[in-house]
Amino acid sequence: MWARAVTTRARCTCLHAAEFRSHMYFFLQIALSGIATGAIYGLIAVGYSLTYVTTKALNFALGMWVMLGGMLTYSLDVQYGLNPLIVLPIVMAALFLLGLVAERFSVLPFLRAGSDVWVMSTLAVGFLMIDFAEIVWGRNPTPVPPFLGKDPIYLGPVTILPQQLLIIAAACVTFISLDFFYRKTLLGKAFRAVAHSSDVSSLMGINTRRVEALSYAVAAALAGIAGFLVVPLTLAEPQMGTVLGLKAFAIAIIAGLAAPRGILVCGLVYGTFEGLVSGYLYTGIRDILGFTIMIAVLYLRPEGIFGRRQEERA
C-alpha cells in the first residue's frame, strides 16, 4: 500500500514536471521571439539617441525611415532579385544619404531657433515618405521571403525562425560596431565630445556641424538596417514602420535618450514583455499596458531609467 502511494506520487510529480516543462517551453518560445522583436526596437531606438545627444533634437519619424528601408529591400530583393548581402549595403547607403539631406532641410533650419518645431518638421518628412511609398509601391501589403529560408530551427524543444536568429545576430553586430565606433575611433570620440558640449567641442576644433549631420545620417542608416531585417517578418507596406518607430521612441524615452546601452536593454526587455503579454494575456491589451507603464516610468524617473538627472542651471 505504501509502495502504491509512493508510485502514485511519483507519477504525479512526473506529470507536474511535464506540465511545468511545457509551460517553460512555451515561456521560452515567446520570450525568444520577443527578444528578436526587442532587437529591432533597440536598433531603431538607438537612432533616436544618436541624434538626440548631438543636437537635442531627433528625427521624430524614424519609423517611416524603417519603412523606406523595408520597401527598398522589397524592391531590390524581390523585384530585382538581388542577393540580400548586396541589398543591405545599398539600403544603408541610400538611407544614409537621404538622412544627410533630410537633416539639412528638416532639422538644421529649426535647431538654432531653440524651439521644438523639429517634432513637426521631421514628422512632415515622414508623412511625405508614406504617401510617396503608397504612390511608388501601392498600398497592398506584399510578403518578402526570409533571407535564410522559412524552416524553423530547433533549439531543443524550442524553435526559432532563421530570420529571427538573423535579426538577433545582426543587431548584436551593429551594436558592437557602434560601441566600438563610439569608444575607439576618432570620429566616434568627436560624437561623444559634441554630445557632452557642442560649444566646447567646436572650440577644440571639432567640426560640430559635420558631427550633427552625420548623426542623422547614421540614425537613418540604422533605421535602414532595421527595415531590411524586419520586412520579411511583417509585410512590405507603407504603414509598416509607423508603430515600430513609435514604440522604439517610447523605449528610447523610457531608457533615457542619452543612454544607448540602456536603450538596448530596454528594447530587449520591452520586446520580451510584448511577447509575454500577447502569449499569456491577449494582444489587444499589449500596447495599452506598454504605454501606460511608459507614462508611469517617466512620472517616477523623468530622465528615463538609465538617464542621469540634469539640474537646471540658474
Binding site: 518638421s121 512632415a124 491589451i285 511608459m294
Partner: protein
C-alpha cells in the same frame, strides 16, 4: 479693441451668421459646424501650445473623452421621458463630457508636465495611443471599432435641432470659446501662462508654483478639447475610434502652427483652412499626407509664426495700457517699509559629482543690511545663492531665516518665504513688456481666481488697479518708468537688469539676492544700481550681493563674506576685507601678499 477691428469682427460674424441662408443645401452648413468644432479644440490646444509653449500630440484623445462621455450618458438618459421631453440630457452630456476631459487632462498633465521636449511629445502620444486602443478593445462599453451609433440629436426643450439650427448654436458656442480665450490670455493668469513659455525658472522665482500652473493650463486646454468632442458626437450622431487617432492630434497641432501659435485667431484660421482644403482638392485622400506634410514644412519655413503671426498684435495685459498719462502723478517713489529678515547659513555643503562646490559654510547676514558675497570664479558663490533660493538642494546644512529653519524645497517655496533673487544670466519673459514683468512679480499677492478673470469681476478690476499703481511706483523708484510699455527684447542690457530687480521687488522680498547685478553694466549704470540698492536698504530690506565689481561692493556693503574653493576665508567689514592677506592671496596669488 479699436474701431476698425470691431467693424471687421462684426462683419465676419455677420457673414458667418448669414452663410447658411445664402449658400443652398446643408452640406456647407455641416462643414461650417465641423470648422467651428475643430476651431474650439484648436483654441484649447493654442492656449497650451501657443501661449504656454507646451506641445501636446494627444489632444484627439481628450476630444474622444468628451465625445464618448456624452454619447454614453445621453443614450442612457434618453430612455427617460423627462429628458426626452426637456432635452436636458444633451446639455448635461456636454457639461459632463467637458468636465471628464478636463479631469483626464489633469491625469495626463501630472506625468506629462514633469518632462520637456521629446519626452513631453512622447507622453502625450502614448496617452493618445492608450485611449485609442481602449476605445477599440473595451467593446462592451465603447462598441469597439464599430463605435457608438444613434447618439441623440441636439435638442432645445422638445425641439430637435436640424443642421441649420445647430449651426447657430455651435456658432454661438464657438464665439464664446473665442471670447473666453481672449479674456483668459489678457488677464493676470494669461500673463503668467505666457511667461512660462519664456522662462519657467523666472516664473518660479516670483513664488508661482510653475508645475501647478501648467497642470491648470493643461486642464483648461483639455476642457476645450472635450467640449469640442461633445459637440462633435451630437453633430455626427455616430462616433468611432478612427476619428480620434494619432493623426487627428497631429491635425490639431498643425492647425495651430499653420494659423499662428500664440495668436487669438490663428488656431481658428488653421482649423478652417485644414478642414476646407480637403473639400477643394479632388482625390484628396490619396495625397492627404503629402498635402499635410508640405503644408507643415512650408509653414515652418515661410510662416514660422503662422498666418496670423504676420498681422496679429502680441497679446498684452490689456489693463496695463490704461491711464498711462496719469502715471507720473500717481507715482509715489517710495516703498513700504520692509522688515528685512536675518539670514543664517549653517554648515552648508554641496558637491557636484566629485567637485566640492561648498563645504561646511557658515556665516550670518544681519537683517536690513547689505551683505556682499565675493570670491574668485568657482568659489561657490552662485551655488550658495542657488541653495538659498531653492534652485539646488544642499547635501548638508541649514538655512535659518529670523531664527527659524527655512524649508526651501523649491524656487517658489523660497520666494513665498520672502527670499527672492535675480539671475546672473538674465531670465526675461521674451517680448513681454516691462510692466508685465513687474505685474507677474505680484502674482503671489493675487486674490482673484480664474472666474474673476474671465468675467472681469469687480474684485478683479480693483486688484488690477491696485497692482498697476504699485507696479508703476516700483518702476519709477528704479528709474525706468519711461520704459513701461517697452517689450523686454527691445531693452538695453542695463535696463534688463533693472527690470529683473523690479520684478523681484514686486514679490515683496524680505531678503533680496542679487546675483552679479553689475555684470555687463557701464559705470553710469552701476552708479544708478548703487543708488537703488541703498534705497532698498533704507526701507529695511536685507540685501545679499554676489558681485565681482569691487568698487560697487566696497561702496555699498555693510559686511563682506569671502568664499574660496567652497569655504569661507574671510568675513568682516569692507575696510578689513580689503587688507585681509588671505583674500588678496585668493584673488591675486600668494606672491602678492605683503607686497
Amino acid at each position: 479693441m479699436r474701431g476698425a477691428e470691431a467693424i471687421t469682427l462684426a462683419l465676419v460674424i455677420g457673414a458667418m451668421a448669414a452663410m447658411p441662408l445664402v449658400v443652398g443645401g446643408t452640406y456647407y452648413t455641416y462643414l461650417g459646424i465641423i470648422v467651428f468644432i475643430y476651431g474650439i479644440v484648436a483654441i484649447g490646444l493654442n492656449i497650451l501650445s501657443g501661449y504656454a509653449g507646451q506641445f501636446s500630440l494627444g489632444h484627439a484623445a481628450l476630444m474622444a473623452m468628451g465625445a464618448y462621455t456624452t454619447a454614453l450618458l445621453t443614450k442612457t438618459l434618453a430612455a427617460f421621458p423627462f429628458f426626452a421631453q426637456t432635452g436636458l440630457h444633451i446639455w448635461l452630456g456636454i457639461v459632463c463630457g467637458t468636465i471628464i476631459a478636463a479631469l483626464f487632462g489633469i491625469v495626463l498633465a501630472i506625468p506629462a508636465l514633469r518632462v520637456r521636449g521629446p519626452y513631453l511629445a512622447m507622453v502625450t502620444i502614448a496617452f493618445g495611443w492608450v485611449v485609442w486602443k481602449i476605445l477599440q478593445e473595451w467593446v462592451s462599453v465603447t462598441g469597439g471599432d464599430l463605435g457608438i451609433s444613434s447618439i441623440p440629436k441636439p435638442q432645445i426643450g422638445a425641439l430637435r435641432l436640424g443642421t441649420p439650427q445647430f449651426y447657430y448654436v455651435v456658432l454661438a458656442l464657438f464665439l464664446a470659446a473665442l471670447a473666453t480665450q481672449y479674456r483668459l490670455i489678457n488677464s493676470h493668469f494669461g500673463m503668467q501662462v505666457r511667461a512660462i513659455k519664456h522662462s519657467e525658472i523666472a516664473v518660479a522665482s516670483v513664488g508661482i508654483d510653475v508645475y501647478r500652473l501648467k497642470v491648470v493650463v493643461f486642464a483648461i486646454s483639455a476642457a476645450f478639447a472635450g467640449f469640442g468632442g461633445t459637440l462633435f458626437a451630437h453633430q455626427q450622431n455616430y462616433i468611432n475610434p478612427d476619428s480620434f487617432q494619432f493623426f487627428s492630434s497631429v491635425f490639431f497641432l498643425l492647425a495651430v502652427l499653420f494659423g499662428g501659435a500664440g495668436t487669438m485667431l490663428g488656431p481658428v484660421i488653421g482649423a478652417a483652412v485644414l478642414t476646407l482644403l480637403p473639400e477643394m482638392l479632388h482625390d484628396f485622400d490619396k495625397y492627404r499626407l503629402i498635402v499635410y506634410g508640405c503644408l507643415i514644412l512650408l509653414t515652418l519655413y515661410f510662416l514660422p509664426r503662422g498666418v496670423m503671426g504676420l498681422a496679429a498684435r502680441t497679446a498684452r495685459f490689456e489693463e496695463s495700457r490704461r491711464d498711462q498719462a496719469t502715471r507720473s502723478i500717481e507715482a509715489l517713489t517710495t516703498l513700504p517699509r520692509t522688515s528685512g529678515a536675518e539670514l543664517q547659513i549653517e554648515g552648508l555643503s554641496r558637491s557636484f559629482g566629485g567637485l566640492v562646490a561648498l563645504s561646511d559654510v557658515s556665516f550670518r547676514i544681519a537683517g536690513g543690511s547689505i551683505h556682499a558675497l565675493i570670491g574668485p570664479n568657482g568659489a561657490g558663490k552662485t551655488t550658495l545663492i542657488n541653495i538659498v533660493s531653492g534652485v539646488y538642494r544642499a547635501d548638508a546644512g541649514r538655512v535659518i531665516v529670523d531664527g527659524l529653519e527655512a524649508k526651501i524645497g523649491s524656487i517658489h517655496a523660497a520666494a513665498r518665504q520672502g527670499i527672492v533673487r535675480t539671475f546672473q544670466t538674465l531670465k526675461m519673459f521674451g517680448d513681454m513688456t516691462v510692466i508685465e514683468h513687474v505685474l507677474i512679480g505680484m502674482a503671489r499677492h493675487a486674490r482673484v481666481n480664474l472666474w474673476d478673470a474671465t468675467v472681469r469681476s469687480r474684485r478683479y478690476r480693483e486688484q488690477t488697479d491696485r497692482q498697476l499703481r504699485e507696479a508703476r511706483n516700483l518702476l519709477s523708484l528704479i528709474g525706468i518708468s519711461h520704459l513701461e510699455q517697452v517689450p523686454a527684447t527691445d531693452l538695453a542690457y542695463g535696463h534688463r537688469r533693472l527690470v529683473e530687480i523690479a520684478r523681484a521687488l514686486a514679490v515683496h522680498p524680505r531678503i533680496l539676492l542679487l546675483d552679479e547685478p553689475a555684470a555687463g553694466l557701464v559705470a553710469e549704470e552701476i552708479r544708478a544700481l548703487a543708488t537703488v540698492i541703498r534705497k532698498l536698504k533704507d526701507v529695511g530690506m536685507t540685501l545679499v550681493l554676489v558681485e565681482h565689481h569691487m568698487e560697487l561692493v566696497l561702496s555699498v556693503s555693510d559686511r563682506i563674506t569671502v568664499l574660496d574653493h567652497g569655504a569661507v576665508i574671510a568675513d568682516g567689514i569692507p575696510s578689513d576685507i580689503r587688507r585681509d592677506e588671505r583674500v588678496i592671496a585668493a584673488y591675486l596669488g600668494p606672491s602678492h601678499v605683503a607686497a
